[in-house]
């Protein structure tokens, strides 16, 4: 009988064949479990990519233009003590996991071979690290080369029977290193007989077993710390190794644990599916670091997570799974300010034994809480609390902070002794981070960037490592960089690949003179219109310009001209990608971080006066009653006659002697804008307030000189009104053209519960009522919130009402039902952003969609894809929020600097009241600050807190009561906040 086998590759002919396979089990989301067999085709033409090797250059695969990808590794790599002939590094997975910050250092770690085995393992273990590693391999200067060892026949290893995957992968790494060493010596020998200098290929691993085996096989290998110790600035570099790894080894002997263990992933998933556990993002209250909350889809209101044990090592921002606690453990949210620094001042980072998760002081604070809750009426009724049982995803990032002086044992700069210190993050919601450093003395008084590596059950605080120092505390550079990092603002200069997308003419670029030029195709020539722009003083990126003129039929033609950014930024090129990443321009007090390169933002796109510029124009015909007759959208060319500041424009309008066309046009606009505004308010638009101040800086040093509240002129609302109108018109048009993919902006109606607190406060304190059934009702009731003795009271209520609102968000039309499109604050059915494409990516997308809607150009496929747009929306929503936060933080910093050393008395209002302190808002500087009881006198005075009437009666020597909305006089000084190292305004009651 003829015998043949159905098997493709039997064990016998392994080795000769270039075919292998990989078997694993894949579990799909839908619960399917599949056995997957992947065939591997082993090849011999994967180059080593060393510039020393000629053989590989000949066999390496070529691309479509018959070119071999340039070889990455240097022919004269840097050497070290152990390897004087130069070395190529081959780190294993753990080396990357623990030392990614090291590998990113510019001065060391060149010529690195990243094995495919390692790359895949890194990807499985940590996606963020994987992306950083990929970014490194793209960085030409670092010379990182990804070697596909699993596909090269000589370096492929078959898993032995009974071998764990880890062991197999370690063996694959060793085999690749061995092969590289052989290969290089052959290559060098082939090059010249005389050459002696053969670079060593060195494996970097912290796995003791792996090192051992490498040694016995004669493979050069070093541990990461051994290698780093041989480098120049070893101390700093050694601090950058993640602490997670070494701890694991040290820890094994200790058994004491402080936190409950997490549930297994499958248990959590089952629970979440069954509805017994809940998944959400963990948030920590900025007022009380022991109080977290989590919003889960199952409930309207957030669940409270109280205490360290319940938050179980979750850090603000993590995606966690929680379990609701039994009813007898429910509590009311805290009315007390609890700050980490006051309670845990005496913690010692070095000592680990005898640590309690809850320190005695914390415990006492919690007990008081419970007492308070128990003696309470329905008002502060206990709310459901929950306990974290597991973490789905850590959202740890790099944190900016400073070293806690008290935690440093020896401050001598010369001491190179390694010690554990606490890093106190700027963000109060983040716990102290324990880091090990040899440079404690130097780092004191500096802004330091660090990351969290791990948080084991037996450690009270998370453990992290130093990344780099930003500079002196309070120095402008360090503080600015710190807040950019804190808010994840991409502030590095634009890479070359982005700048390559700019028009080659540079600043010389002009609107083509000939109307036959392709640039003129589909464009209206609006150069003869009397267009002008009105912006804040000193504005260089002019997004918008306006004009108005009377039509023969008595109506008006009004045009809003927006910079035609989409002409310069084509979809999907590098510049577009960078812009979509950045999402928005970030305005700081002394700095602007652009979304688009300067050339476009401040010149080619900017609608500068006296020059011709491309624009995207919205033209309305409007009656004298400000009713819209028709609207038209077109690409155009305009020439702005003048760029006004708000003030200049106001003066010109008010000046009766000016009767030229431009000024009259502005007067028409002013007249129409007032009518439009009234209509909007009639429809129920809200007039909300947020404290806005402006920091005046000295022009040269940009040191802050003074702080002023922003004045609003009629011209501000003139521009605003027409921009709103343009946005609404464009939103309608885009939605009509692309009902599924139009990029819109919505502002959800705030849930009633948001206003409960404020409504109650107004009722109790002022006998006023706030109605929230519709935006109109809210607007009207806000208008009635007046205190005749105190004109500012209304603004105060508006500021507080603003905080009860939802935040507006970008979304993709197909993801919501039409009624959900509503913009609550503007009382508009539909809304988008169109008018600031230079500084917002959403507007740029809206431009592209509008251009397609009016058949100017076809729509890019990326704008057809709902999934892609949703991704973009998510990103720009986040960027937008961060940009606002960064801007505020910047103002806060400068206000602090401006008030440095000053001592002023100002009026303030009480906004929020706790049982051991209250928040005062000072309108003059737009600052709000906490005054704690213990700030009033030492020792901390006794106080009686009447939560129902929002009164805090301070006893003792002070003997006065403080109530909500009360106007108080405060003394303003400045101090450095110990917990964050920020210079902040300090208020004291007078």
């Amino acid at each position: 009988m003829e015998y043949f086998s159905l098997k493709r590759s039997s064990a016998l002919d392994q080795g000769q064949t270039n075919l292998s396979s990989k078997v694993y089990v894949r579990s799909t989301k839908s619960g399917k479990v599949q056995k997957i067999v992947r065939e591997l085709y082993l090849r011999r033409d994967i180059p080593c990519s060393s510039s020393l090797c000629r053989a590989c250059l000949e066999i390496a695969p070529t691309d479509y233009s018959k070119k071999v990808a340039p070889f990455v590794l240097s022919d004269t790599p840097a050497g070290s003590k152990n390897f004087p002939n130069g070395q190529y590094l081959v780190p294993d997975t753990n080396a990357f996991l623990t030392g990614m910050d090291l590998f990113e250092v510019e001065t060391a770690f060149h010529d690195v071979v990243v094995l495919q085995t390692v790359l895949e393992e890194v990807k499985n273990q940590s996606l963020p690290l994987y992306h950083r590693l990929i970014a490194l391999t793209k960085n030409e200067g670092k010379r990182f080369y990804v070697f596909f060892n699993e596909f090269r026949q000589e370096t492929y290893v078959i898993r032995n029977a009974g071998e764990t995957i880890n062991d197999r992968n370690d063996r694959a790494v060793r085999k690749a290193v061995l092969w590289y060493n052989h290969h290089l010596s052959e290559a060098v020998a082939a090059r010249s007989k005389k050459q002696q200098r053969i670079p060593s290929v060195v494996m970097i691993t912290d796995d003791r077993d792996n090192l051992q085996k490498a040694k016995s096989d004669g493979i050069p290998a070093l541990s990461l710390s051994e290698f780093v110790s041989g480098l120049e600035n070893a101390d700093e570099l050694l601090d950058m190794i993640s602490a997670a790894q070494e701890r694991r080894e040290v820890r094994s002997s200790k058994a004491e644990v402080f936190y409950p263990e997490y549930f297994t992933m499958s248990k959590m998933m089952t629970g979440v599916k069954a509805g017994t556990l809940h998944q959400g993002i963990f948030n920590v209250s900025p007022y009380n670091y022991l109080e977290g909350s989590i919003h889960v889809p199952a409930f309207d209101k957030s669940l409270l997570i109280l205490g360290r044990e319940n938050s179980n090592r979750a850090v603000s921002g993590d995606v966690v799974v929680v379990e609701v606690l039994p009813k007898d453990q429910w509590k009311a949210p805290s009315t007390k300010i609890i700050e980490e620094e006051t309670l845990n001042k005496n913690d010692n980072p070095e000592v680990e034994d005898g640590e309690d998760v809850i320190s005695e002081r914390e415990r006492r604070a919690l007990q008081e809480e419970v007492k308070r809750v128990h003696g309470q009426s329905a008002e502060g009724r206990p709310q459901p609390t929950a306990r974290v049982v597991g973490i789905i995803k850590r959202n740890w990032r790099q944190y900016v902070g400073h070293i806690d002086r008290d935690s440093v044992r020896s401050t001598s700069k010369s001491s190179r002794q390694q010690q554990m210190v606490f890093l106190v993050p700027m963000d109060k919601r983040i716990p102290k981070i324990r880091i090990r450093t040899r440079q404690a003395g130097e780092l004191l008084g500096q802004r330091v960037l660090a990351t969290i590596d791990s948080w084991e059950r037996d450690s009270r605080y998370p453990v992290g490592h130093f990344v780099r120092s930003l500079g002196e505390l309070e120095s402008k550079g360090a503080e600015t960089e710190a807040l950019l990092l804190e808010w994840d603002v991409q502030y590095r200069p634009f890479p070359k690949i982005v700048l390559d997308c700019l028009p080659p003419e540079g600043h010389e670029w002009k609107v083509p003179a000939s109307l036959d030029d392709p640039g003129w195709r589909g464009r209206k020539d609006l150069r003869d219109l009397l267009v002008c722009s009105i912006d804040p003083p000193g504005c260089v990126d002019i997004d918008d310009a306006l004009h108005a003129r009377k039509l023969p039929n008595g109506n008006f033609e009004v045009g809003v001209h927006i910079a035609d950014v989409s002409h310069f930024v084509k979809p999907n090129n590098a510049m577009d990608k960078e812009a979509s990443q950045r999402g928005t321009t970030v305005y700081l007090v002394d700095k602007r971080i652009d979304m688009l390169p300067m050339l476009l933002g401040t010149d080619l796109c900017s609608l500068k006066p006296y020059v011709e510029r491309y624009a995207f124009t919205v033209l309305w015909e409007i009656t004298t009653n400000a009713d819209i007759v028709s609207v038209d959208f077109t690409k155009s060319v305009i020439r702005s006659r003048e760029a006004f500041s708000y003030e200049q424009a106001q003066i010109r309008i008010d000046d009766e002697s000016q009767q030229d066309g431009l000024t009259n046009g502005m007067r028409t606009l002013m007249m129409l804008s007032k009518k439009l505004r009234q209509k909007r308010y009639d429809a129920g638009a809200l007039n909300l307030a947020s404290p806005e101040v402006k920091v005046q800086t000295e022009s040269e040093t940009s040191d802050p000189v003074d702080v002023q509240t922003k004045r609003l002129l009629d011209t501000n609302s003139l521009v605003e009104e027409f921009m709103l109108l343009a946005n609404i018109s464009v939103a309608g048009k885009n939605y009509e053209a692309f009902p599924q993919t139009a990029l819109l902006r919505r502002h959800g109606a705030p849930p009633k519960t948001n206003f409960e607190e404020l409504g109650n406060q107004l009722k109790v304190k002022k006998g006023l009522e706030i109605r929230t059934d519709s935006s109109k009702a809210l607007a009207d009731s806000l208008d009635t919130c007046v205190d005749h003795k105190e004109p500012f009271f209304n603004t105060l209520v508006r500021i507080m009402a603003t905080r009860c609102m939802m935040s507006a968000e970008y979304f993709c039309a197909g993801s919501q039902a039409y009624p959900e499109f509503r913009h609550y604050g503007l009382a508009s059915e539909i809304y988008t952003h169109f008018t600031s494409p230079i500084r917002r990516y959403a507007d740029l997308e809206a431009h592209r969609q509008l251009a397609a809607a009016i058949d100017y150009e076809p729509l890019d496929p990326s704008l057809h894809s709902k999934a892609k747009l949703e991704g973009i929306c998510k990103n720009i929503n986040m960027r937008h929020r961060n940009a606002q936060m960064a801007g505020r933080a910047s103002i806060e910093y400068y206000v602090g600097q401006a008030l440095k050393g000053k001592d002023i008395k100002e009026e303030g209002f009480i906004m929020k009241i706790f049982s051991n302190g209250f928040v005062v808002f000072v309108p003059r500087f737009g600052v709000e600050s906490l005054i704690r009881l213990r700030d009033l006198a030492t020792p901390e005075p006794e106080a009686e807190f009447d939560a129902e009437n929002y009164v805090l009666k301070v006893k003792g020597d002070i003997n006065r009561s403080v109530e909500l909305f009360e106007k108080v006089t405060v003394r303003i000084t400045d101090e450095i906040e110990e917990s964050t190292g920020k210079r902040k305004v300090k208020l004291t009651l007078v």
């Binding site: 009988m1 159905l6 694993y24 089990v25 479990v33 056995k35 499958s266 248990k267 089952t270």
Partner: protein
Amino acid sequence: MPPSQAALVSLSPAELSYLRSTLLQVPPIRLDHTKGPKDFRSMRAEYDVLPGANGSARIALEDGLEALVGVKAEVEKSQWRPTPAGRASRLSVAAGDVEMKDGDEEDDGQGKGQVSWVEMSVEIPGFRDDDALPVFLASMLTESLLSSGELKDRLYINSRFHWKLYIDILLLSPALSYPLALLSMTTHLALLTSRLPALKSEKDEDPLFDDDWDASVPLYPKEKGKGTGSKPVDRPPVIVLAMAIGQNIIFDPCKEELAVADAVLAIACSSSKTSSTGSRIISIRTIDPPSHLTPPGVPNSMNSATGGVAPASSADALTQRELLATSGVWTPPRGGMKRGLIGQVVKMVVETGGVAEEVIDALQAIEVG
């Protein structure tokens, strides 16, 4: 139920008669004269032929018959079943369906398996899937697999999930002879080498599995080391075919031998639970041999052409044939099997070192070797 037309052989009555008489010899002389009555046709077997399946096997017999079996397992949500408290109601509903062992409910799935968790399909070239032969073969194979209850219990993951096993049996060659034994052996080998991903989750959680295939567990657990001799490892059952001719018993008959059989038995057996040797019967089925359908030879006495007298009626013919039964003229055998003979067959199968043990061990040896 008779095997359909494909098993029919085109032998003349004289040939059939000759064949029968040689097989009636003691010891019988088989068609392949080198083989004794207990000898199986030689075969080639291999397993793990389908990389994507959880288990697979292929067996080719020397006469060209060849079968391929793939076993695939999928995680499936279990239907809600009453808790032990609601057992009474379940008994009345499902009585006779599942074994009603009220044994201690441990979490190893004892008695929790369900018949529907195993699905088998048999495909034979030239047959539709609803033809009698494939359906009959599939039900015989399923029946023997499920009868002990161990396989289906092994598919239990937790109260909410279970494995669903799809056994796809494919006869690669035309059905030259009755393929039941071959299919059974191939299925046996495939199941024996099947592996399920290792479970990582606990209890009633949504199942989560180890993604390392090397960590997967065999569907039929292997004996670990030595010390476990007391509890023999369970193995899937195997069906052997035995035929009786006169007083002779012949195992694994070939197509021609079947054509003259008095009776055919399909005996499903698996390794013994109580001792490490021998085996136990799971089921016995008689199979209507194709010999019943063979055309009878016409004896000279009944043939007018050779001077005989043709019988007047069919009843007459029958009586005459009855008398001529031992004359050597081919008459299709009628009637069943004697009890003593069945007992003898069973003994030959289950005894220590008997046919069943031999087959099962031989199949096991394929995997080990």
